[in-house]
Amino acid sequence: MLKRIALLLCAVMLVSLVGCSNGTNGKNTTSNTTATAKEDVIIGTSSEFTTTDPQGSNSQAPLTLATLTHETLTEIDASGNPVAGMATFEQVDQLTYKFTIPGNVTFTNGDPCTTEDVAFTFERARESSFTSGKISTLDHTEIISPTEIRFVLSSPNQDFLTTLAHKSLSILSKKACQEDTEHGFEIGTGRYYLTKWVPGDVTSVTRYDGYRGDKGVAKTITFRQIAETSARIIALQNKEIDIALGLESLDASKIDADSSLELVKFEDVWIKYLTFNVNAAPFDNVKVRQAIAHAVNKNNVILGAANGEGILHTSVVNKTQFGLDETLKDYDYDPALAKSMLAEAGYPNGLEITLSCYKGSPYETIAAVVQSDMAAAGIKIKVNPVEPAALKSMMKEGQHEMAIYGWSDAIGTDFTVRSLLYSTSGSNRCKIADPKLDAMIDAALSEVDTAKREQMYKDIQQYVNDLCPYIMLYTGYIYVGVHKGTTGVKWNASNIHDFCYVSVPSYQ
């Protein structure tokens, strides 16, 4: 008996020693008041840092890293206009831009940044599938001096300066890249430098104290990959991380319920859409596509897939982009009209369609809502959830009938319309090949007069709306959980946030 009591007491002691920790770990405190900011900021994210090469991806995580470690020649201001970034610029003529780099720009390894590095960056960019399309109109660069360089285009491109602000076109060190082909591209001119990269686990950067301008606030910033959203919120509440990215609308209440946390919420530019394969019958018939568009209840989709928190979207052009036509008339949800249009098009008994989408939220939810709403119009939908690799292949080879996908880049209107609609574009999911549309897109890119250009993009949107190769559904919101008092983050609607000046108050 005594032995058992002794054993029990030992077990209790052991658990107490192992389990009870000091500090406020796990306790929900109500106050974070302190005069000092944390030196080490930890950000929880579900996105994977698949590469540290800015030219190696268009995904948000690698580009967020590039925002910290690299700089681009131009940047985009709050109004969406290109402004000076690392360099100042001057448009010499329709085909020529001159960039001037300040003499004190250095890479984080101490090497000076010169126009040779700029020229090298763009030559290298031609070899990457992630960047070559963005600079397709760049004919060549001319180095005038170590601080001045000219970019000469093959044809006018009114979006060129906007495109240069894309983080995938960050300036790289020629010397570092040539000396170390596997890691040299990690060296940039940014406020931070990469110190640790463990794919699927953590990625850390440290402040570069030799930066020429305003230095970063935090000494180190670590991105911790936490795939599960609930786990990310728990880690935030537990103060294991300071910022939790990639939350959903359903998580907002958990953040609001914790007085030490704050919910950051703003509109995103991720358009969810339905795409037809316009080369496959019966979707090669514009009447059929328009009829199906009348069978989609976008409000229901927002209610089901976004918990009611979404913004209806009609145009292929994204919000905040130049030339968006906000007066574009949408296809109203009208199942009776859809039925009669289908009958006119030769399908009086309705249609059976396979709708392919990624597995998981929100795509499968969107598919379920669409399936339910279309049934009222006599359209029977078979949902086909597949892995990303399979869906990409399917759409690339034009094996889909209809699919649900998304578009989130908002760097320039030409990039968006060209990617989604140009006949040779790899992102042309609807497989449309319309020479007239291609010509309209090319003409708009080179139009110098801003008002005319705006009208040209509106004409494109109207033309595409009539053709209906896509049914744009909605954009939503980005939800981020932060600790109260967190400041300095430049939130970005494409989820490529700028954490250079992030400041998190120290915890008590």
Binding site: P199, G200, A235
Partner: protein, 309 residues
């Protein structure tokens, strides 16, 4: 005994070759082009074709298989299509974490299942037996992701005893180990119980009791030792399962193990990572099974005699 060990290690060769062939065939048949997963969506057909050539994807499966095996013999498992890092480096980075999780989970399973199984067997058909089996049933029925989140909410958020995830020190292994261990304990409890029941009514135990050996010694020294063989077998299979299959637990607890690495690689059609990960896991599991077989010899001298023959 050494010949037995050598023979077992040599048998690994055809197993590995077969595993690699199977992976190549399955990945080849699976829908999805790896080039599309690596390249930008805006990549032209020429760029995709060039990428396929660079990765060797334009060659036939037989050519790629032979090339892979040749490289593997030099310790080169290829580079990840996605990150570009050598697969061996990525795997070896993650292996210690998975091994820690496996050891932790099996330890939790053992400290729960063995006492519970012995109690259930010794008190067969009583309340203690039923209670032990109910506990085992609950353990095997609870989904690991649900259990993991519950443990996280209680022990991490409410009580603050353990971190919610990551790999910061010993404390970060506790909750994932308990999550996995409870699932494993259920299977091992039942095995322990039935194995003990087989030996509890043996004549030699009756003899031991007749000679005046106390009951505790009869159970733990005589009965349990003879019941160990099936328990060790299940232990080995559960350990192997954890080594390769802890994806859900790794995801919930943001644990950078090899299970999640392989599953993510499958989704990305990252063939070198899939192949390398599975090959390495196969080698480790085979070695674990060999150790289990050698443990039999240690526990049961009769088996040792068979190995020596």
């Amino acid at each position: 005994m050494y010949r037995y060990v050598l023979k077992r290690l040599l048998m690994l060769v055809p197993v590995i070759l077969g595993v690699i062939l199977l992976i190549f065939v399955v990945m080849d048949l699976a829908p999805g082009d790896p080039a599309l997963m690596i390249a930008s969506p805006d990549a032209t057909e020429e760029e995709l074709a060039e990428l396929r050539t660079n990765l060797g994807l334009d060659k036939g499966i037989a050519y790629r298989y032979v090339a892979y095996v040749k490289n593997m013999l030099h310790g080169n498992l290829g580079s990840s299509y996605i990150s570009g890092r050598p697969v061996m480096d990525v795997y070896l980075e993650r292996l210690p974490e998975t091994l820690k999780l496996a050891v932790g989970a099996v330890f939790v399973a053992l400290i729960i299942s063995i006492p519970l199984g012995i109690i259930a067997a010794v008190h067969q058909n009583t309340f203690k037996d039923s209670a032990s089996m109910v506990v085992a049933l609950i353990g095997v029925s609870m989904p690991s992701f649900w259990l993991g989140l519950l443990l996280m909410l209680l022990f991490s958020l409410k009580l603050g005893w353990f971190p919610s995830g990551g790999t910061v020190g010993f404390k970060s292994i506790v909750l994932p180990s308990i999550t996995m261990g409870l699932n494993l304990a259920a299977v091992m409890t039942r095995t322990t119980r039935s194995s003990m029941l087989d030996v509890l009514h043996s004549d030699y135990l009756r003899t031991a009791r007749a000679k005046g050996v106390n009951e505790k010694k009869v159970i733990l020294k005589h009965a349990f030792k003879n019941a160990l063989i099936p328990i060790i077998t299940v232990f080995g299979s559960q350990f192997s399962y954890v080594l390769g299959g802890a994806v859900l637990v790794e995801t919930i607890f943001s644990y950078p193990g090899v299970g999640k690495m392989v599953v993510d690689a499958i989704g990305n059609r990252d063939i070198p990572s899939v192949t390398g990960g599975i090959v390495m896991t196969t080698i480790i599991v085979t070695c674990v099974n060999l150790v289990i077989d050698l443990l039999y010899a240690y526990v049961d001298p009769r088996i040792k005699g068979q190995y020596v023959k």
